[in-house]
Symmetry: C2
Subunit: 311 residues, 2 copies
Amino acid sequence: MSTPANSASRALRIVRTAAELSTAIVQALEGLAPGNSPAALGLVPTMGALHSGHESLVSTAREQNDVLVVSIFVNELQFNDRADFERYPRTLDADIEILARAGADIVFAPEVSTVYPDGRPLVKLDSGALGEKFEGASRPGHFDGMLAVVAKLLHFCMPPASLGVPVAYRAYFGQKDAQQLVLINRMVADLNYPVEIRSVPIIRSAEGLALSSRNQFLTKEQAKAALVIHRALNLVKGRADRHEPLYLEDAAGLFEMEPLVELDYFELVDPRTLQELAFNCQDTPFTGEGLLLVAAKVGKVRLIDNMSLGY
Amino acid sequence: MSTPANSASRALRIVRTAAELSTAIVQALEGLAPGNSPAALGLVPTMGALHSGHESLVSTAREQNDVLVVSIFVNELQFNDRADFERYPRTLDADIEILARAGADIVFAPEVSTVYPDGRPLVKLDSGALGEKFEGASRPGHFDGMLAVVAKLLHFCMPPASLGVPVAYRAYFGQKDAQQLVLINRMVADLNYPVEIRSVPIIRSAEGLALSSRNQFLTKEQAKAALVIHRALNLVKGRADRHEPLYLEDAAGLFEMEPLVELDYFELVDPRTLQELAFNCQDTPFTGEGLLLVAAKVGKVRLIDNMSLGY
């Protein structure tokens, strides 16, 4: 792609319906300088409540694409807990300000009636065994609901079928939701969606806490205690980098010293299949590729994090 | 769309891989006369073993589109019975001859490794309650497997995302597989696929037997006995047309007089939701819209048929 136009010159368009979105996408693509071939359209799906983690997604997508669409939709289907859905922060005005500054072209903020005009879908996505483990174990139905809306958004925002200048299509997801990313990649492969999924690294606070819209529900004391997650990941990562045996149980041990933090799981898995790696924690140094997954509860707030190991 | 080019002048391209298919679709679209706007691409998904029923689908799609793709793939996932999958007729050479005569532009006949490169999909389509009744009741998993391949084919054959002359995209399915058609329409709506589903009426033999690739497994005597299906549908349809009460049990009664034919179900349903219509068979004339669904076994061969009632 060519160099993106100066973001200051872009006008952010906010659209609510599928028809407005299509028109806005076509106009934005047509407005590109001629010779912009192949053009590229990037989509960043979000549930709003944007923080620096999202800004990193948006800024990466901004750099890599000519036209940038950010969707904001709090998807009830992926909340297994109604109260969690209701208290999920809705900050549309602040989100739009952030996205205008970040140079997005189009914000797609649909109503529920646009996304689910007939109520809950009758034909559903089934994330199968991949969606039942780890986060799926404590959030039944979460990943099926997430896939339901991503499957729709990928179609809503797809550049139009036509004949002329090709348009590359990419969608961006954060690596923080590692299981979500694996499932989306799997869905795109299993349904042959014509889109390229790109992922963006986790953004952390200076102290190491992975950014999440849930962090705002932590007290200062809880936020400090939650740093054990990063310490545990780093402990194992350091051993992997030094080609030492990993001794995952030492990481779990760190959590026992933090009474405010209740560990749910700390696992080493295959980064593509989420299969637990039957890793011998005795005297064998780690080789190959792995992904450390961790989830812990701090008060009522569930936090997840992960780190790649690999050579 | 413009008048299709003379079918005699078309060269049928047979492609096996996704890359070959994309190239063939782009070349066929680019080969259209200029000013052909909007262009239209039609897809007819089949499992081969083409008969006059398919020819009608293909010929309708040929008339309505500039570029016509027919896919041929015997999808193991939709066979709940391995033996049924194995004996399903594979007649690729004869199919290609029929499609060349019918003026198709592209035959997409992928290998299993193109459609399912990683084996069975991990993220699946779930047809839910709609897929469990009627045909789903006797063929567990059938509709999920059917949706899995249709979801892929709709993406494989989608005209490319680009900027220029718009391309309309349609996929064609026969009304004979009524439950399949309802589920595909539902999937397209629930996942917001950018495709228009068009359906084509049932084709029958002169005697009234709905054409099916399974009919070739019937003896002459069985084929004659199977005509009771059409007689039963016509009996009820006639009453509906004359605004009489339907008395569905009379239709079921006809089957009792045919010892070679074992009725599975004969139901009146809502044509969009397949909800059984709580129809009062006493003295109330039928009003509204309905779909009669029937399935019966003749020897080892399961036959389905249907007929619309409505005003």
